[in-house]
Amino acid sequence: MERLSDWAFIVGHLNYWMFIILMMTGLYIVVARGNLVKKIVGLNIFQTSVFMLYISIGKVTGGTAPIYPVDMQGNLQVDPSIVYSNPLPHVLILTAIVVGIATTSLALALIIRIREVYETIEEDDILKIERELSAKDYKEHGPAMGGRA
């Protein structure tokens, strides 16, 4: 009996598990991948997990699409016995999706500029170039400050 309810708990929260798995996958990719584009892919997966969370919490058991039936004359046919899903999270997530697309496109544009300048989109190479730049800065400007700090 005890085991059964555990299973019911786990299966009943399937949407959350999916959310968490996707979220962690996304975050992991952002952190672990060195390729700038792949990072963005990870970021997208991460954001998508949130969309899933929102969409799934709008679901009402047995509910249908939240559209009132309309007769031929255009009058509303309100039937209190019909259960509707909650539309609000879906609407919200539309906004979030738009934001996500904007972020992705901006990031890709940035990557193009980075590629033009650094001629690579691998983070390791970029970091190496920047370290060299910083070392040059330090060589040029750092020692002058040596005695002052």
């Binding site: 999270p89 979030a96 934001v99 901006l106 800065d137 040029e140 002052r148």
Partner: protein, 509 residues
């Protein structure tokens, strides 16, 4: 607390102020792109942000007595409709943001000419206005999801603004990219928190959420929501271990952008933190105390010492100021963690005072960079003597950053330490003082470079043209003015703190 009953249907022009001050900059942004002429674009941006500033002042005047204004967009009553709610706290922050936004613009005209390719100028002003819109919207809305939308508007435009520094130093691009990744993660965390809150309460209106949490008490969903929101906003506010994006973004962004962001972006995030912690989640929320003591205090202390310490060893002035910003955010957070009226008012007043101070400093550095091309200390030798007014403004702001009496920074520090004493936290009081010693060290390093080293042979630097100089001097004057006349800043902050501590009651209808 006295409340003013505001009509559900706004009738006069004044009644529409809460939304107008967001909408005007918003509309100006596409107009600027259509105009395409950079002089007209600048004029329009200036007009829009100045209007927003005047409106913010009018709003503050209305709510300074502790009342609030509830504006219903499109006449739809909350909790279904979106509500804009202005009280002393956000009116003060609005005034800071639009004020800095306005005052940086005249400066930006010349500085942008020097730092950004010509064909990007109109886009720059459009983005600047979008960023302003986002920040103002984030602060004035009373709807939780609206905060996210405006947050993203401001963040996306900020990423581009930072990347516009690429003409000077290509590292601006990677800085913007890093900021984008971190910012997006932060914003997404925030959205997750909102989703969980919505699950637990079924509403998105802040006041309504607060009521329901107060009614039904806390549960694990609410706690998780709280954690996500704090981490998400902490990222945007550059709370100590989450500050990684800040130094590069501030260092490589164009001067005008740095000044604007340093004074406003992190402050808006801290405002949201405050709003959620106190108005949405009740201050009596037991889980929150635990977080405040255990998370905020050690991290704020770390920020105050570690970031200041790192600042001392920078060889680039802009970078040094960026690290100092992280340290100063520590002061604001520790004020929140004190959880008493004095501590909260210290945080709020420090938001304003530090915003003004840092804006002045970054504007000053920007003016020097116009001549020296880089902000490395060894390129700035003796420039304070060559540029007397710029130098004087930076001295005033530098003293305010340390917290010398007679400057705005002193007031915040005084109130903060007083709050520590009220709680009987000796250790914290002494730590605050000790960390301001580190501020003395790094600020004094700046002074020594600007004044005590000889300028390079044949140095032709002079004070920048008036449109750049006047904003600096106004802000420097404000650094000193607010050190003596605290009626506006500390007065409003006190009222705001009372409102916050009243918790959800402060948000009630």
């Amino acid at each position: 607390m006295s409340t003013v009953e505001v009509q559900h249907v706004a009738k006069t022009f004044i009644d529409h102020l809460p939304v107008l001050q967001v909408v005007i900059p918003l509309i100006s942004a596409p107009l600027i792109v259509f105009i395409g002429n950079r002089k007209l674009a600048w004029l329009l941006a200036m007009a829009a942000s100045a209007t927003a500033f005047v409106m913010a002042c009018l709003l503050l005047a209305q709510v300074k007595d502790g009342s609030y204004i509830s504006y219903h967009i499109g006449g739809w009553a909350p909790p279904l409709g979106i509500e804009y709610r202005i009280d002393a706290l956000n009116a003060l922050v609005l005034m800071l943001i639009s004020g800095i936004g306005t005052i940086v613009l005249p400066y930006a005209y010349n500085s942008v000419n020097a730092e950004i390719p010509k064909r990007h100028h109109t886009l720059f002003y459009a983005l600047y206005m979008l960023c302003l819109t986002g920040l103002l919207g984030m602060v004035s809305t009373g709807d939780a999801f609206n905060v996210f939308v405006f947050l993203e508007i401001s963040s996306l435009s900020t990423y581009v603004l930072v990347a516009m520094g690429a003409g000077k130093d290509t590292r601006a691009l990677t800085a913007a990219y890093d900021y984008l990744i971190m910012g997006t993660i932060g914003a997404t965390f925030f959205v997750i928190g909102l989703g969980l809150l919505y699950m637990a309460t079924g509403t998105l209106n802040m006041a309504d959420i607060a009521d329901r949490i107060a009614e039904q008490g806390t549960n694990r969903t609410v706690q998780a929501a709280f954690a996500f929101i704090v981490v998400g906003m902490g990222l945007k506010a550059a709370m100590y271990p989450l500050h990684h994006w800040l130094p590069n973004a501030y260092t490589y962004a164009p001067s005008a952008v740095t000044a604007f962001l340093a004074a406003t972006a992190t402050k808006a995030a801290i405002y949201v933190l405050l709003r959620f912690m106190f108005s949405v989640f009740n201050p009596g929320f037991h889980f929150e105390d635990w977080t405040l003591y255990l998370i905020f205090i050690p991290f704020s202390l770390l920020a105050m010492f570690a970031a200041s310490f790192v600042a001392v060893f920078q060889s680039d002035l802009k970078r040094m100021l960026a690290f100092s910003s992280i340290a100063q955010i520590g002061y604001m957070l520790i004020g929140i963690a004190m959880l008493n009226a004095t501590g909260l008012s210290a945080s709020i007043v420090h938001m304003v005072n530090h915003g003004i101070t840092k804006a002045t400093l970054f504007l000053g550095v920007g003016a020097m960079v116009m001549y020296s091309k880089t902000s490395f200390f060894d390129n700035l030798n003796g420039l304070g003597r060559k540029m007397p007014f710029t130098g004087a403004a930076m001295v005033a702001a530098g003293l305010s950053l340390i917290g010398i009496p007679g400057t705005a920074g002193f007031i915040s520090k005084w109130v903060l330490v007083q709050a520590a004493f009220e709680n009987g936290w000796w250790f914290i009081a002494v730590a605050i003082m000790l960390s301001s010693l580190l501020a003395v060290v790094y600020v004094w390093r700046m002074f020594e470079v600007l004044y005590l080293t000889a300028p390079d042979e044949g140095c032709t630097a002079t004070d920048p043209p008036l449109p750049m100089l006047i904003p600096m001097l106004i802000l420097a004057g404000a650094c000193i003015w607010f050190g003596f006349d605290t009626e506006l800043t500390l007065g409003s902050a006190r009222v705001a703190a009372e409102g916050l501590l009243a918790g959800s009651a402060g948000m009630a209808h």
